[in-house]
């Protein structure tokens, strides 16, 4: 029922001397999305500073010296959405600024919102509000308190908490296990002058990337980046993939929870740049990527033991995680069912239907990404960070060629490292006033 063909869209751009820009011109969207990144190694020394800096930069610039002034500017820009935040991919910490503005074509008077957006980005990233002693000490102090609370609040979301505990345990001291927000003690120790020094080095030395998606002329992005980010930055360093160090250890943690969360971490030995990666995707998809997958069908549909049960890949890290939310007493039964599914994968007990459904589901995901600016940026960023790997049509074709024996070859490489089980703490299971 598609009316008319579409042209294959894609990124234009380059990454040179530690500076990159990628623009995806398309008339499909009513907004223009800009996402700028500084990419740092995730280290105990810098993690907390990297987490704090975006929050402080967001508090004021030379032109808009207060939070209110910045917010009013964004509202004048037809409610442009702006985030300054920290992210994590494997052993890299990403400091980023994300701005989405309405394309002026749809607004009264047709303002050049791309120009306004680029000016805004320059202002918040390069021209912060500084006093005689650098950043305003009051602001730094406020943001330190909020960041410490954010670190503490990780325990509020049990799913996320259990997952981050698993990754920490798997990492066993390696950098990919560090939290992107740093630790409370590290945040505590940051001084205003340290933060300013850190900011100067971020700005002048870290690899810097700008992604833009929308109905825009790529040359405007190229010109902007050349003018804004002159000189050289450090090159991107390769991501170090995860190699298991434990042999299926079991870690049980108790809290006042009403549902148990079991999370299992596996080394795959195959990262996104590996020729076997499409086979690994099919492996994880057949096992637990979708509602037709083995884990969902067996743990949830056949045995009613969970509301969710999944397998998912951390591609840059060559890590696979299986997770489910279960009744405390069903732990052994769920482990047994999961083990049976892993054995089935190894034995190649995969139906033609499972293969076909999984392939179609991935193709649907890959094509659907094209309709979401943030997914388009995310995919390209991962591609740049991994330094290789297939996307789009090439990836779809590669997935189509995967055979059951290719999947079995992958299964041979999958190694269970750690099982983490978050369960009730015996006393009342957090029973409270709800009823």
């Amino acid at each position: 029922m598609t009316s008319g063909g579409y042209t294959e869209d894609g990124f234009v751009g380059e990454f040179q001397n530690g500076i990159g820009w990628y623009c995806y011109p398309t008339p499909r969207f009513k907004t223009i999305t800009l996402h700028a990144f500084w990419i740092n190694e995730l280290t105990p020394q810098d993690a907390a500073k990297g987490a704090l800096l975006p929050h402080v930069l967001r508090r004021g610039t030379r032109r808009w010296p207060s939070l209110v002034a910045i917010e009013r500017e964004l509202e004048e820009l037809y409610g442009a959405s702006f985030r300054a935040e920290v992210g994590k991919v494997a052993d890299k910490q990403l400091l980023s600024m994300h701005l989405e503005v309405i394309n002026g074509r749809f607004l009264p008077g047709h303002p050049d919102t791309l120009r306004q957006a680029l000016d805004f980005l320059s202002e918040v990233s390069s021209d912060p509000h500084l006093g005689p002693d650098g950043f305003d000490p009051g602001i730094v102090q406020q943001e330190k308190i909020l960041l410490k609370r954010q670190i503490q609040a990780l325990i509020n979301d049990k799913g996320q908490y259990a997952m981050s505990r698993l990754v920490e345990i798997l990492a066993d001291g390696r950098r990919f296990g560090l939290r992107k927000l740093g630790t409370i003690a590290d945040v505590e120790n940051i001084t205003g002058s340290e933060l300013l020094d850190y900011y100067q080095s971020v700005k002048t030395t870290l690899p810097s990337l700008l992604f833009v998606v929308g109905d825009v002329d790529p040359s405007r992005i190229e010109d902007y980046v050349h003018k804004q980010w002159q000189g050289f930055r450090q090159p991107l360093t390769p991501i170090i993939p995860f190699v298991p160090r434990h042999d299926g250890q079991e870690v049980i943690e108790r809290q006042a929870v009403r549902q148990g969360k079991v999370n299992m971490g596996f080394g795959t030995g195959i990262s996104a740049a590996d020729p076997q990666y499409p086979a690994l995707m099919m492996y994880a998809g057949v096992l637990g990527g979708f509602p037709h997958s083995k884990l969902f069908v067996n743990v949830r549909e056949k045995h009613s033991l969970a509301y969710y049960a999944f397998a998912r890949l951390d591609a840059p890290l060559a890590l696979m995680v299986i997770g489910a939310g279960i009744e405390f007493d069903d732990y052994s039964a769920v482990r047994r069912i999961i083990d049976q599914q892993l054995e089935a994968m190894q034995a190649g007990a995969i139906s033609a239907e499972e293969m076909a459904f999984t392939l179609k589901a991935f193709c649907n995901d890959i094509l659907s990404e094209e309709d979401s600016p943030s997914q388009i940026v995310g995919r390209q960023l991962e591609h740049v960070l991994v330094g290789n790997g297939m996307t789009g049509r090439r990836l779809m074709q590669a997935l189509e060629r995967v055979t059951i024996s290719d999947i079995q070859a992958v299964a041979e490489k999958i190694r269970l490292d750690t099982v983490h089980f978050l369960t009730a703490d015996g006393e009342g299971q957090g029973e409270a006033q709800d009823g």
Binding site: M1, T2, S3, Y6, P27, R28, K30, T31, L67, V68, E71, R72, L74, E75, E76, L77, Y78, G79, E100, V101, I102, F106, L107, I145, L146, R149, Q150, Q152, A153, I155, D157, K158, Q255, A256, V257, R258, Q259, F290, H292, R300, S304, A306, Y307, Y308, G325, E327, A356, F357, K360, A361, C363, N364, D371, S372, D425, E427, A432, Q433, D434, G435
Partner: protein, 434 residues
């Protein structure tokens, strides 16, 4: 050929199409040229609050167990041959899902291929119930785990507790999924009765968003429905108990393993009960009021933020339906007492200015335009408005027409002490790191 009605807003670059079938079923298509994905929903105006009703065409009054609308949503995916609807969509390369809220249930698929075959699956499974003692029993274990997952989510508890504090009798006080106990009582008969009543085409809407031919979509729906028999159904009478203006409890508190207190203050809306343009205006006015009072550019937000009483995820909003409405504002705070004191003192007194209103109207306008490139959000908003008799495009006109006086009046009416309640989640003693 099905006759299409077109709705157009050229300055927004938007056009949509509608066809109404004899059964009362509406089909709406919003074309998205160039989009690879087609997103379709089949929604019924039936949610968790519809637990007491008169069966059309009879005097029989039904009271059904809490959480049944959500339970029914789950059960629709099971087929008579033992198969599963997820597989039918997977075979056609689509992903499918469903969700239930207070007032509606929505079934959906998202696909980049075989749109018409997927649409056929959607239209058929939602209209073909199959419930047995066994398959109903089996679902109880799954939904129990879903409910337990929510019980561990502090933000979810915070909201749920607030609703129970605000409302004495209105079913908005009941969790959408019900409770572990209430769902155990659900029988196949209950499910059939609710399906017959609320999944009647006259109570439903098909919406397709994507790079599709509107005429072909409408024709397909007409053809699909011709093969099905639906008894003519009178109006569904939903019965809601009278709700006092005062709140049930002023303050509720629950300990959980959280790091710092979570705070949510609510105001029950006495003006709820409107439909159509009057309701849209009411919702927009209250939305703008909260942006002016507590939006990120407001003096109050800034002061609270700089005092360390809130973080940047603090939010304030109004949500309303035709039988109930409420505002809720909250987030994490180290000092609930002080936050409550500052809010109650200043909300009534903050100056409201023309300058802020005009600026926030621009933001409203931008947010509205942004909707149109996100099919999921667009479908949610469209269905939400449609079931209340509102033309989505009129949103921009209503925003433009709001005056400062409207905001002042809304504040005076809405921020009433007797209709205010506070919900808190406080750190449990056993919480690590607390």
């Amino acid at each position: 050929m099905a006759k299409l009605e077109a709705f157009e807003r050229p300055e927004l670059g938007e056009k949509s199409y509608r066809h109404r079938l004899e059964s009362g079923l509406d089909v709406v298509v919003i074309p998205r040229p160039g989009f690879k994905k087609t997103f379709a929903t089949f929604a019924t105006r039936y949610g968790s609050i519809d637990n007491h009703f008169r069966v059309p065409g009879s005097d029989l009054e039904m009271k059904v167990p809490d959480g049944i609308a959500h339970f029914l949503e789950h059960k629709m995916f099971e087929k008579q041959d033992g198969g599963d609807v997820f597989d039918d969509f997977a075979r056609l390369g689509a992903s499918s899902n469903a969700y239930t809220d207070y007032t509606s249930t929505t079934f959906l698929f998202s696909t980049t291929s075989e749109v018409s075959a997927n649409l056929e699956v959607l239209l058929d499974f939602v209209q073909r119930p199959y419930f047995t003692e066994d398959n109903v029993e089996k679902e109880k274990g799954i939904i129990e785990q879903e409910i337990r997952m929510y019980l561990d989510m502090p933000g979810d508890r915070l909201h749920s507790n607030l609703m129970r504090a605000l409302y004495h009798y209105h079913p908005a006080r009941i969790d959408i999924a019900g409770t572990v106990e209430s769902i155990r009582a659900i029988t196949p008969d209950d499910l059939y009765r609710c399906h017959n009543t609320f999944y009647h085409p006259g109570n439903m809407l098909v919406l397709v968003i994507g790079d599709v031919d509107p005429q072909a979509v409408a024709d397909q729906v007409v053809h699909n429905q011709q093969n099905k028999q639906f008894l003519r159904q009178g109006d569904i009478v939903r019965i809601y108990p009278p709700e006092p203006e005062v709140v049930k409890e002023r303050r509720v508190e629950q300990p959980m393993p959280v790091a710092a207190p979570l705070f949510m203050m609510g105001y029950k809306d006495h003006a709820a009960g409107m439909t159509g343009p009057a309701w849209l205006r009411h919702e927009i006015v209250l939305g703008l009021m909260w942006s002016m009072l507590l939006g990120r550019s407001s003096a109050l937000f800034t002061d609270l933020y700089q005092a360390g009483l809130i973080n940047d995820r603090f939010s304030a909003r109004y949500s309303g339906t035709d039988t109930f409405g409420f505002s809720n504002l909250g987030g994490e705070t180290p000092d609930p007492k002080r936050l409550e004191a500052v809010l109650t003192e200043r909300l009534a007194q903050e100056p409201l200015t023309e300058e802020a209103l005009e600026r926030l109207k621009k933001r409203e306008m931008g947010d509205f335009l942004g909707l149109f490139q996100n099919p999921e959000d667009l479908a949610y908003a469209f269905n939400h408005f449609y079931f209340r008799g509102i033309d989505l495009y009129s949103y921009v006109d209503v925003v433009a027409s709001v005056r400062l006086r409207d905001i002042e009046e809304a504040r005076a009416r809405h921020l009433v002490e007797d209709s205010r309640a506070l919900s808190l989640i406080v750190p449990a003693q056993s919480a690590p790191g607390a």
